[in-house]
Symmetry: C2
Subunit: 249 residues, 2 copies
Amino acid sequence: MNESIDLLLNHRSVRQFEDRPLTREQKETIVSCAQAASTSSFIQAYSIIGVTDKEKKRKLAELAGGQAYVEENGHFFVFCADLHRHEMIGSMENKNVVPSIESTEKFMVALIDTALAAQNAAIAAESMSLGICYIGGIRNKLEDVCELLQIPSRVLPLFGLAVGYPAEMTEKKPRLPINHIYHENEYRQNEEEDQEQLEMYNQIISDYYLERTKGMRNDTWTSQMATMLEKQSRMYMKEFVKKIGMDRI
Amino acid sequence: MNESIDLLLNHRSVRQFEDRPLTREQKETIVSCAQAASTSSFIQAYSIIGVTDKEKKRKLAELAGGQAYVEENGHFFVFCADLHRHEMIGSMENKNVVPSIESTEKFMVALIDTALAAQNAAIAAESMSLGICYIGGIRNKLEDVCELLQIPSRVLPLFGLAVGYPAEMTEKKPRLPINHIYHENEYRQNEEEDQEQLEMYNQIISDYYLERTKGMRNDTWTSQMATMLEKQSRMYMKEFVKKIGMDRI
């Protein structure tokens, strides 16, 4: 065990921040760490938009579903998969890159690149005793988010990252059993074993919620997942992504 | 600056490893750190397959394009976006989750979840003085990779992660200028400024290659990108992803 592993294992999302903005140096360190992450074939297919304008933050919070911590934090980053600059590079270098950047493969590459960078940003922030929360809610209304942040085509805002000085203590949420997530040499398909593991995990999660809510919430992981997934959300995504010129071919 | 930031900023990919396998404890620490990453709505939409079988590693290396370090390393992880268990959960809980898990939105969620976990794994490994290299090459022939690792539908291998004791010293690769990647309040669209930044960066990359190859390689970032993107690669991806039941609607 070392300091970094300790940091990784102790992650918890923070949803309440002090009213204290990050310094320019803190922001630059976080972005530099994001950029230091691995990138597929050196493609660097992302952009990061820091939002400081109060009115824009208020609007973003509203679009993301009304969470106060989108508006109230030390800094708010929006991580975007970005193949816009690569289209520009195609013109600069006089090469037809369009089929490539419209492919599902490069869509995946851009998403992965962006997420690797973001996770580095999250860890950098946490290492400075800041708290973080990923905000998938910005995908509720991407058309409006893109207009608000003047985002061009081939750029897809994936999630926000709220960062700041924690104003609450939160608990670590137990993860799936390691042997449910981790396989060796082949994907283990054993329905009986899987169900046993899930039931064991359900018990852990149920205890976690009961304790955390003083008996008010009784929920299992599988029921939580099934309820969430039964509801079809953001079903406009396929059309939207295609419209902005990604995942087309 | 703290120890973790130092670690993040000093990342470089390692492509030559000592012949010394990771211990069970090292592997478990790496996977536990992966699991500790943020996950969208707690969905945990990934699986990790460790490959230890020599013949399977040899085959994977071949499929990935013949890189020796896929075969020769301390351990080889395959990170998979996974909505297979969520389909199973739907049946367990008697809820129709299929439209949800076939949506582009959940495809994105699964990719992002997997990448966040993988980056935690990479950092955990590096914090233990191990080296890492992401292997996108496994996407060359996913049909074969899925067969080799007996991967069911709704599970998409995204990349490998080779981990081990470094047998080479590599250099940090300079990233795009921070003000090219980072915007405030709106996506800055200024073609002239962008081109200036790219030309400045081209000079940095050109110097980097010249020095590293003792004058043998003279290349700029934009020409490298345009050449790579002009070539259409893995164009089967859209059909493949659809076939396994993802990114369909």
